[in-house]
Symmetry: C2
Subunit: 167 residues, 2 copies
């Protein structure tokens, strides 16, 4: 079993055990996070789907990211990731929204160089967890690394919550 | 350049040349078609994003697939693929909606065995193109083959339209 399949299998098991679900909102990865979460057989028990908001306009149109935030900060910003995560959670009814926005390259976007990536998880009660990355590598490497980090971020959130619940 | 990257680069060039865009609505592929379309640098000129409606409920909730169609036929049906394609086109404002629904396996779904896949393209004026597949292979092979067929279907539609325009 590949490292990633192992990681997504663990993540989905954690969710299923808690009766929780996840939806994704992706930009630079364009569907790779969803595809990774759907990789383990039986993934539909915890992964519901999500939105690929590749064009900036769709971040507002489909996910409700505030237009003034996008106008002011561009699409690559921690608050945009948080709004994407909250938006997809609201849209799908999933327990968690997991979002990624960033620059895969080769060119810059909105003044940010390739490798700048912002991840966010939105959970119950409006809680948001952030992870900001500065990655090196090719377009493909940046996208693949982002998938691994996104899966890892949500696993960390679930394990922390589990600690809270049992502590 | 890999065969797939060559195919998606060709597809995006055809769209850019015509000033047209595409959005995706994915089920069994869970984001792989979007990721493939975003693979070529500069993809944002023609690929806008889309919806991953992995859970059947999201096909209705996000894409407007009629609930009675889903109740009657299940999620794996040519009409569902067509409704997904039309739904994502309407939702995003893209010129074309490209949709895939099917069974990746290992188990059956809604009475359909692994490898049954329905693709659809929705275009201007409510026109819909269909491609129905019976694939053999592992879960991963079925998903990857579906991506190739989806890219190929849209390329075929664009080339046919081009013929119409110039003919």
């Amino acid at each position: 079993m590949s490292h990633r399949l192992q990681a997504t299998t663990t993540l989905l098991s954690l969710l299923v055990r808690r009766g929780e679900t996840v939806a994704v909102a992706e930009s630079l990865t364009a569907g790779l996070i969803g595809a990774a979460l759907a990789d383990p057989p039986g993934a539909s028990s915890a992964f519901v789907g999500g939105v690929v908001s590749y064009a900036t306009e769709l971040k507002h149109r489909l996910l409700g990211v505030p237009a003034d935030l996008l106008a002011r900060e561009g699409a690559v910003h921690p608050e945009v990731a948080a709004a994407m995560a909250s938006g997809v959670r609201r849209l799908t009814g999933a327990t968690y929204g997991l979002a990624a926005t960033g620059v895969a390259g080769p060119g810059s976007q909105d003044g940010k160089p390739p490798g700048v990536v912002h991840l966010a998880v939105s959970g119950v009660g409006g809680r948001v967890w952030h992870r900001d990355l500065n990655l090196a590598g090719t377009r493909e490497e940046i996208r693949q690394f982002t998938v691994n980090e996104a899966v890892d971020l949500l696993r960390g959130v679930l394990e922390a919550n589990l600690g809270e619940q049992s502590g």
